[in-house]
């Protein structure tokens, strides 16, 4: 039943590019300047599918290639369908792609669910004791008895994933020693038997592939320089690192999928940099503690996901009213309610913008890639310190669990912005210039007439922190006057509402000064707007579309609220049709944009718990392109 691939199209793409950065030796003597392929491993939750994939990604990341992973797994600890996809490319990768070149199926479910995504002529590796394959499959098929091999090698069933890792390693020409070291690094702490069994499993896989004469693709040789220049990190890790880089030294949190890894990473890192990480009894307490820490003068963060964000609503309001800086990261998951905890969705935007009783300003950011998670988190801290308000960073499961090679930030480019004297200027840092804003501090000379909530031109007021003599003030959730004293007078309420919302205008004015952020040609008549983790997929859809002669512009705002209005208007100018792409059911960003700009976009929603693919977006856009064309014809 072993079917030989019709074409070797895929193989042709493997090549050796940046020789200065590492060695990747081709087996097939072909030389192409482009490499781009994807491997998927699928099996049952608890079989270690994901950890095997991540180890393999680690090997790949230490070559000259870029790596990008996508993970999905069930909400149960064991059982259910789990998979990891690893895309490897010679240049920056923007999405997980729409299809895969290699599929490793641990069981029938993995085969059934994902075989449709295997490219014609791709490679299938499968356990013949578990998986029955279709007769007419157009693929190069390698059977490998994962369970049998691991039982033979270790006497137990655990470790199929390591067998698979061994086989994969061989297929891609990884030296056995490199794999051996990986295993030792990962399982070293668990001691003797665990290590021994894992190494036996690894050998079984590696040599089965060797003995089966699996056609070697190319050699992934590890590269020390790549290690210096790149990190292979997940979006969640990027957020945690962004917080550390931004000078945050306080995290309070409560575990919740898929945000937990941010908190886990920070509990590990905080003490290393002299910061404090505290797990609390729930999300309400977590945000309360951040408010306390911020009141005391510290930069504070709490990571969460939908159900937790909801519980934080009342405290989010309080932070806005106290005008305290702090950052909340919401790694969105499938909703509503407990929903699909391990699946992705962009469905908390409405809550982030509108989700408090009364009207309390805050800023919403949405990073668009793993790397962007790092920079937007820094930006979130800067904005929150400068505007004295909570900033919500919206990521999602797909970006949070995605791993990608990220260029090491240039620390020499960090500029500490001391803003203790004047609160009037606020600029936004960018990856090119990492700015770190400190808290706008009160001039101690002026403490005589100190008004904590002074209504200034920007809306931003001087602030003191405990320890500063004479700076004592009352911050409270009741409506108050400029000094902080409670006041329920009609005029005062209106004045203070204006003051607090003025800060959003201040930010908008600054954002307007930035160069336009959209991509794609001026002459395009179609505009696509997306936000957050879909950026890469839309970008690839744009390339697909260009190949077919369809041009579109792509706006992907990183700051979702307040929107830089004139920038959006710039983007909209001259467009015949706007398409808004989101991973939710009701079109949340579209709703917001419609209310603000009075446009009537076509909305592409995906509400299935899995990321939208470039193909899906392209298909939608192609349809729109036809309509726009017809309109053009009709008008001529």
């Amino acid at each position: 039943m072993l079917i030989i691939a019709e074409t070797k199209r895929v193989l042709k793409n493997f090549m050796h590019t940046h020789p200065e950065m590492g060695t990747l030796e081709m087996e097939g003597n072909q030389n192409h300047s482009e490499t781009d392929f994807a491997i998927r491993i699928g099996g049952e939750g608890g079989e270690g599918v994901i950890s095997a994939g991540e180890l393999f990604a680690q090997v790949a990341a230490r070559t000259a290639y870029q790596v990008f992973t996508y993970i999905t797994y069930p909400a149960e600890i064991k059982g259910g369908f789990s998979m990891i996809q690893i895309r490897i490319k010679h240049e920056k990768i923007y999405s997980m792609g729409s299809t895969v070149d290699y599929l490793i199926a641990f069981n029938q479910q993995a085969y059934d669910v994902t075989i449709k995504d295997l490219k014609p002529g791709g490679t299938l590796i499968y356990d013949p004791d578990e998986v029955e394959i279709k007769e007419d499959l157009n693929a190069e098929c390698y059977p490998i008895k994962l369970t049998k091999l691991v039982v033979d090698a270790t006497g137990a069933k655990l470790g199929k994933n390591v067998v698979a890792l061994g086989a994969l390693g061989h297929l891609f020409g990884v030296e056995f020693g490199v794999l051996e070291k990986l295993i030792k690094d990962r399982y070293g702490a668990k001691g003797g038997d665990v290590i021994k069994n894992n190494l036996n499993a690894l050998k079984a896989g590696y040599f089965t592939a060797e003995e089966g004469n699996w056609e070697k693709k190319f050699k992934l040789v590890s590269d020390t320089q790549a290690k210096e220049h790149y990190m292979l990190i997940s979006g969640n890790e990027a957020v945690a690192l962004g917080a550390i880089a931004a000078g945050c030294r306080f995290v309070a949190g409560y575990p919740i999928t898929p945000a937990t890894p941010i908190f886990e990473t920070l509990t590990d890192l905080m003490p290393k940099v002299g910061g404090r990480a505290i797990q609390l009894e729930d999300e309400i307490a977590s945000l309360s503690a951040c408010i306390g820490a911020s009141f005391a003068g510290e930069k504070a963060i709490t990571p969460t996901s939908g159900p937790g964000l909801q519980l934080m609503g009342e405290q989010l309001n309080l932070a806005s009213m106290l005008e305290l800086p702090l950052v909340i990261v919401d790694v969105q998951r499938g909703g509503p309610s407990t929903g699909l905890p391990t699946k992705t969705e962009q469905s908390d935007l409405k809550f982030a913008i509108y989700g408090t009783s009364g009207e309390a300003p805050r800023v919403i950011l949405a990073p668009s890639s793993v790397e962007d998670c790092f920079y937007q988190t820094i930006r979130a801290f800067n904005i929150s310190e400068r505007l004295q308000m909570p900033v919500v960073v919206l990521t999602d499961q797909s970006i949070g669990y995605r791993k990608a090679t990220v260029r090491m930030p240039d620390l020499s480019k960090i500029i500490e912005v001391d803003n203790s004297v004047s609160g009037e200027t606020i600029s936004i840092p960018s990856p090119e210039k990492i700015e770190l804003a400190s808290r706008i501090q009160m001039d101690p000379e002026k403490l005589n007439e100190y008004k904590r909530f002074l209504d200034t031109a920007t809306g931003v007021s001087p602030i003191t922190s405990p320890g500063l003599k004479g700076g004592q003030y009352l911050g409270g959730g009741l409506e108050h006057d400029e000094t902080g004293k409670a006041s329920y007078l009609p005029d005062n309420h209106l004045k203070m509402m204006r003051k607090r919302f003025k800060k959003l205008e201040t930010l908008t004015h600054i954002l307007e000064k930035n160069p336009p952020e959209y991509e794609g040609p001026e002459e395009a008549k179609i505009g696509v707007i997306g936000w957050g983790s879909t950026e890469g997929a839309i970008r690839e859809a744009r390339m697909l579309a260009e190949q077919r002669g369809i041009l579109f512009r792509h706006l992907h705002p990183k700051i979702l609220s307040p929107l830089p209005e004139s920038q959006v208007r710039n983007f909209l100018a001259g467009l015949k049709q706007v398409i808004i792409v989101e991973e939710n059911f009701t079109g949340q960003f579209a709703h917001f944009v419609k209310a603000k700009f009075g446009i009537k976009p076509i909305e592409i929603h995906k509400s299935e718990g899995v990321p939208i693919t470039p193909e899906e977006i392209f298909t939608g856009i192609e349809k729109v392109a036809r309509i726009v064309d017809e309109k053009n014809i009709a008008r001529l």
Partner: protein
């Protein structure tokens, strides 16, 4: 310059009803701070929502009047971030034992060095007279027009079961002994709860005379380090004891956090903190 009581008073005039027990508590706090000579700028008072929650308005401290029931975790954040500050959490029986009741056990497990003043008037005062967790069985309130039918929450045994490291009950209308207990609580390293009985004048379930009749200081020789004795006396209702039931020394949250920092840096970085560069490189 020697401080006076004035140094602890904010410019805001108290708004409680005439005769409210909270006036005396405010002065006792100010007096305790004065006696201990703590600089106002190094004090943070966090309060919840309620008549009692207004207390932070009237103290010349860094004052945070937060939301209903969250004074304890908010104060925890202050103290965790800046251990050098003297931190108060203040709230009523509804605020602290009702909506906020879930937080105390966990602050206690961390032994946060805060002073939690729980002011019990057996009623929801600010919202004008509804049943609180400590309203006596059978009394009529606005939300129990046919009489309270739940058992009263017995706070001191609960705090003891949480192993709060300083547990005291005080008579709010006896400023001298209250000041004394507050001074002890503030001086205690670790979480201290001072549970203060305070008469509400407008919805009166307690009054000064009644309190005097039922309250009695713990015996002079009360051993504050014995949980079982503390529990037994906490359960006594004739008399109801005031004073320090229990006081033990345990590492504070500050100690615990500092230990982690020291241990990690010692073990993995020769005692130094990690540079940002080193943190990033560890992900390469």
């Amino acid at each position: 310059m020697k401080k006076t009581l004035q140094d602890y008073k904010s410019i805001i005039e108290p708004v409680w009803c005439p005769g409210c027990g909270d006036y005396g508590i405010l002065v006792s706090i100010q007096r305790a701070l004065l006696n201990l000579d703590i600089d106002p700028e190094n004090i943070v008072s966090v309060s919840g929502i309620g008549c009692s929650g207004r207390l932070s308005h009237f103290l010349n401290t860094y004052s945070l009047h937060g939301t209903h029931g969250r004074a304890v975790p908010t104060a925890l954040g202050v103290k965790a971030a800046h251990p050098e500050l003297t931190v108060f959490a203040v709230g009523g029986d509804g605020d602290g034992l009702g909506i906020g009741g879930g937080h105390i056990a966990h602050a206690s497990r961390k032994n946060v060095d805060m002073n939690y003043l729980l002011i019990d008037n057996q009623i929801y005062g600010l919202t004008k007279g509804q049943t609180s967790p400590t309203s006596p069985l059978g009394v009529k309130t606005k939300t129990s027009p046919h009489g309270v039918f739940e058992d009263t929450l017995d706070a001191i045994p609960i705090f003891l079961s949480y192993d709060v490291s300083f547990v005291a009950r005080a008579n709010g209308v006896d400023p001298k002994s209250l000041t004394q207990i507050l001074m002890e609580a503030i001086s205690h390293k670790g979480m201290s709860i001072v549970y203060i009985l305070s008469p509400c004048r407008t919805f009166p379930l307690l009054d000064a005379k009644g309190l005097k009749a039922i309250l009695q200081p713990l015996p002079e020789d009360h051993p504050t380090d014995n949980k079982m004795v503390a529990l037994e006396r906490a359960y006594s209702d004739q008399p109801i004891y005031t004073g320090i039931f229990y006081q033990v020394q345990k590492p504070t949250l500050e100690d615990r956090l500092q230990n982690v920092i020291t241990k990690v840096c010692d073990n993995t970085n020769g005692g130094d903190k990690y540079s940002l560069d080193k943190v990033l490189k560890s992900f390469a």
